[in-house]
């Protein structure tokens, strides 16, 4: 039974991993990675690491995939598949060589312990109680370091992704459209007596860039404080 589950989960994980690399659309790559992570959680369960499997599903397949999907939807865009001709050939060759080397290192090195069937079952192995005890006793310093790292990453993400003022120079400039109103329509200028009815104006819209002083443009177009 465990063998069947193992092969289902392992084949799912490896095919999803190949899908992440080969799929053209980054959105589909993210979905394939979600499948990959759930399969890996099944493998963790087979290794009796229940808490790690739960954290994998919740943190990875839940939170981080949502972040990825948001960013892919924001940035978007499919891409041509691979890079230049050299890396397109050398990349898979490097991956193949790495696989062979890792398998030789882990399986063919004559380590007798590697091919064992594992330690006898300990009650409560991999439960949150055991892992939490280890975190707060033997691995307290890495635990605190991880929390500081999370804080630094959160602040760094806010600093990186915030909208800076003055950065988008070539963005379309904001224009303000000022359309002169006809006389006797109840403007504040008429109420203050600044703008007389005899002073008829041409009814052309006046587009003025925000940020330029209104006095010089008013002097240029002949409007004398009618606004």
């Amino acid at each position: 039974m465990s063998a069947v589950l193992f092969f289902i989960a392992a084949i799912g994980a490896i095919t999803a991993a190949i899908g992440v690399v080969t799929l053209r659309n980054p959105f589909y790559s993210v979905l394939a990675l979600a499948v990959h992570l759930v399969s890996l959680a099944a493998l963790f369960l087979l290794l009796r690491a229940e808490f790690v499997a739960a954290a994998q599903v919740i943190v990875y397949a839940g939170a981080m995939m949502v972040l990825y999907v948001f960013v892919v939807a924001y940035v978007g865009g499919a891409e041509p598949l691979a890079s230049g001709a050299v890396l397109r050939v050398l990349g898979p060759l490097f991956a193949l060589a790495l696989t062979i080397e890792l398998c030789i290192a882990m399986l063919g090195a004559g380590l007798k312990g590697v091919s064992s069937r594992g330690a006898p079952f300990i009650p409560g192995f991999g439960t949150p109680a055991h892992i939490g005890r280890l975190f707060l006793t033997a691995y307290l310093f890495p635990f605190e370091l991880a929390s500081i790292l999370l804080l630094v990453a959160a602040i760094g993400a806010v600093v990186l992704a915030r909208r800076r003022r003055g950065l988008d120079t070539d963005e379309q400039a904001q224009f303000q459209v000022r359309v002169p109103r006809p006389a006797y329509t109840g403007t504040m200028a008429e109420g203050a007596g600044v703008r007389s009815s005899a002073h008829e104006e041409q009814l052309t819209p006046d587009v003025q860039r925000v940020g330029t002083t209104s006095d010089e443009s008013a002097a240029a177009t002949g409007h004398q404080g009618g606004w």
Partner: protein, 99 residues
């Protein structure tokens, strides 16, 4: 299942991730492939933890998850910043930092 099978799967996942980092050009997909490499290492850690009957490997796997989350946060922040500056989202074009 013998532990060796899990190690073979972890080696395969790590290698596929490494090949993907080399082949792909979109920084989003490169981040995904980095995730896969970290997950391959995680699987090996948990497998060794099962082999020796101690939870230390699982503790390290959880810390690797924390590091992966931080890396994703910073990487996606960089991608969003690149997109905001209208730069091409392509690691072959973003080569101004190379020496």
């Amino acid at each position: 299942m013998a532990i060796g099978w899990f190690l073979v799967v972890s080696a395969l996942i790590f290698s596929i991730g490494a090949g993907g980092v080399l082949v792909r050009r979109n920084p989003l997909v490169i981040l995904l492939c980095l995730e896969m490499m970290l997950n391959g290492a995680n699987l090996a850690l948990v497998a060794f933890s099962r082999m020796w009957g101690g939870e230390d490997g699982q503790v390290f796997a959880l810390i690797v998850m924390v590091v992966a989350a931080c890396e994703v946060t910073i990487g996606l922040g960089l991608v969003v910043a690149i997109y905001r500056r209208r730069l091409p989202i392509d690691v072959d074009e973003l080569n101004e930092l190379q020496g």
